[in-house]
Symmetry: C2
Subunit: 351 residues, 2 copies
C-alpha cells in the first residue's frame, strides 16, 4: 500500500485572511511543506494528486465569506472549510493511495478542491471519472458543476422553446459557452455579451452564436439590446446582474424567463444597483435563482446528453490554462478582472 | 325596446389630462351631460346603468399612462381607451337597454368601467352575473379581477404547501384580504403588513390572520420581519415593492416564492429602490409577475371555490364605500394615500 517515496514536497496556495474590497495578489502566497505518501491504518482516507484546478467567478464571494452573509453553496462545504482555501472550486484528481473501498489507486475523480499539489482527504465524497476519452481537465468545468449549472439552468429553469430569443451574459466562462451551444442545438437565436473584444472574437469565431458584443463598449445597454433583439428577449441567462439586468428587464418579452446563475458585477459593490423590477410584473416575467448542487442527481443524464456532442465536436469547449500553483493567484485575479479567454483552469500537474 | 324616459342626465368623472407626479383632486372634475336611453337600429350596443365602481391601486399608473411605458393591462383595453377614463377599473352594471343577443334588459353584468352614471357600450364584452345571493358590489372586487388575482396568484404562482410561512403586503385591499384567507384555509401561517393602525386592527379583528403590523411604524423592516418570521418566509405576496421587498429578500427561506402582483410603493418614484437581488440566487428564490387577465379562464373554477365560503361566512370581505361620482376623485386620492379601510368602492347608484 505504501508508495516508493514516503514523503514529497507539497506546495499550497494560501489565502492570508478573508478579503474586504477587491482581492490583491499579496492576499495570497505559496507555502511549501511536505506530505507523507501513506495513510494510517483504520482510516478511510484517500491521498490525491491534484491535476487541474477550476477557477470560478463566485470564488470572489468566497474570498470574503466571513464578512458577507451565509451562502448555501459554501454552507454545503462548511465542515471542510478549514481545509479548503476556496471550498467551491473543483479539482480533478488522480488517486495515489486509498484506504477507502469506493476508490482505488489510479482512479481519476473530481470534487471540491484544496489549492495544493497533494491532498489527504479523510472523508472523501468524490465523483469517479468513467469517461477518459475526453480531456481530463474538462472535469473541472464542462463536465462538473459548471456543466450541470448550464444544463439545469437552461433546460430546467429557462423552459426554452425552439425559435426563442436568448441572451447570455458574461459569456466566455464554461456556463455561458455551454448555455449558448445548448441554445443553438435547440434552434434558438442566441446573443452573448462579454467584457473584452478578445472574448467577443472567441464567441463569434469559435462558437456559432448569432451575435456577441462587448458590454464595456456600449454606453447605452438598452440601445444595444434593442439592436440585437428588435423583437425582445425571451430568455436571459443571468451571470452579471446590475446595469445589465436593468437593461434586460426593459427588453424582455411578455412571459420571459430569467435564470439567476450569478451576479458577478455585484460581488464587489457596497450597495446594489437600482433595478426597475416593475417590469417583472408588467411583463409577467419569471426570475428564478438556482444552484447546480441541487441538480446533481441529473449528472448521469447530463453526461449522456453532452458526451456524444463533445466527441462529435458538436459542442466545443475553450479553456484558458495557467501553469503551476505559483501562477495561481495571478490567474485568479485575472479571472476577476476578466482577462481569461475561455474557462480559466490551473494546471497543477499534467496527468 | 325604448325606455319611458327618452333622455336622462349623466354625470361623468373626467380626468383633465394624464398626470405627472402625484395626482390631485383638481386633476379631475364632474361633468354633467345627457344620454339617450335608446339604441339605434342595427347596433349591437348595450346601455348600462353603473351601480358600483372599483378603485384599484394600479390606477395610479393609468393616470400617467402616456408618460410611462406601455403596460399589458392597459394595452388589453387600448381599443377602448378613448372611452374609458381609467380602463382597468371594474364596474358592476345593470343592463337598461340591449340590442345584443348575449345581454337582455335587467341582466346584471360586470366589466371595464367608464366613470359615469350611464354607459353606452357599442361592442360589449361583459361578464354576466349569475349569482345574485351575494352583494352585487362584490362583483367589483372579490368576485372580479381582484378575486381572480388572489386566486391565481396564490394557488398558481405561489405553489403553497400546508404549514408554510406567508407574508402579504399592503393588506387591506381585496387581493390581500383574500390571499390571507386562502392562506389560513390551507393551514399556513400568515402575517400581513398594512399602512395604518386602523388597517392593522381590521386585519386582526375581522380576519383570523396570525399577525399584522403597520409598516410605517417600523423603522427597521428587516428586524420587524425577523420578529414575525423567526424561521423565515416561504411565500411573499408582493403588492408594494421597494424597501419591503429588499427586507423580505433578506428573510426569505431557501426555495421561497414571490408572487409579483403590484409594487404600489414604486408607482410615484422617479427611480427604483436599491434591492439586493443576489438573494434570489443565494436562496434559489422564484419571483414571478402575473396578471389576472391571463387567468380569466379560471373564473368559473374560482367562483365554485369561493362562493360556498362566502355564503358560509368562512371568507369575509370588507368594503369601504364612497357615495356618488361627486366624491369619486376624493375617494381615489384617499386610496392612493392609504385612507381606505377595506376594498374601496364607489357607489354610483344602488341597484
Amino acid at each position: 500500500m505504501a508508495s516508493v517515496r514516503k514523503e514529497v514536497s507539497n506546495k499550497q496556495l494560501i489565502l492570508r485572511d478573508y478579503v474586504t474590497g477587491s482581492p490583491k495578489e499579496s492576499d495570497m502566497y505559496v507555502k511549501t511543506s511536505t506530505i507523507k505518501l501513506e495513510i494510517p491504518n483504520g482510516s478511510k482516507a484517500v491521498l490525491l494528486k491534484n491535476l487541474y484546478l477550476s477557477y470560478d467567478p463566485v470564488m470572489r464571494i468566497e474570498l470574503k465569506i466571513r464578512s458577507s452573509l451565509p451562502i448555501p453553496l459554501s454552507r454545503h462545504y462548511l465542515g471542510t472549510e478549514r481545509l479548503f482555501g476556496w471550498p467551491i472550486s473543483v479539482t480533478q484528481f488522480s488517486v495515489l493511495v486509498s484506504r477507502h473501498l469506493d476508490y482505488k489507486e489510479g482512479d481519476f475523480v473530481w470534487g471540491p478542491a484544496i489549492w495544493e499539489e497533494y491532498s489527504l482527504v479523510k472523508e472523501p465524497n468524490l465523483t469517479k471519472i468513467h469517461h477518459t476519452d475526453v480531456p481530463l481537465s474538462y472535469y473541472t468545468g464542462i463536465l462538473s458543476y459548471p456543466g450541470i449549472t448550464a444544463y439545469a439552468g437552461f433546460y430546467e429553469i429557462c423552459s426554452p422553446k425552439k425559435g426563442e430569443y436568448v441572451l447570455v451574459s458574461s459569456a466566455s466562462g464554461t456556463v455561458a459557452q455551454l448555455v449558448g451551444q445548448f441554445t443553438k442545438l435547440m434552434g434558438c437565436y442566441v446573443v452573448e455579451s462579454a467584457g473584452s473584444q478578445q472574448k467577443v472574437d472567441l464567441l463569434k469565431n469559435k462558437f456559432w452564436f448569432d451575435e456577441a458584443f462587448n458590454y464595456k463598449e456600449e454606453c447605452d445597454l438598452n440601445a444595444a439590446l434593442k439592436r440585437y433583439f428588435p423583437n425582445g428577449i425571451d430568455i436571459y441567462f443571468e451571470n452579471v446582474g446590475g446595469k445589465m439586468l436593468d437593461a434586460v428587464l426593459l427588453n424582455m418579452r411578455d412571459h420571459g424567463r430569467i435564470a439567476g446563475c450569478g451576479m458577478t458585477s455585484t460581488y464587489n459593490l457596497d450597495e446594489p444597483e437600482r433595478i426597475n423590477l416593475m417590469f417583472i410584473i408588467y411583463k409577467r416575467i419569471r426570475m428564478e435563482g438556482f444552484s447546480a448542487i441541487e441538480y446533481f442527481h441529473l449528472y448521469p443524464k447530463f453526461l449522456d446528453h453532452i458526451l456524444p456532442y463533445i466527441r462529435e465536436s458538436k459542442i466545443v469547449y475553450v479553456e484558458d490554462l495557467a501553469e503551476g500553483l505559483e501562477n495561481g493567484a495571478a490567474a485568479l485575479l485575472g479571472l476577476f478582472s476578466g482577462c481569461n479567454v475561455g474557462k480559466q483552469v490551473l494546471v497543477v500537474s499534467r496527468e
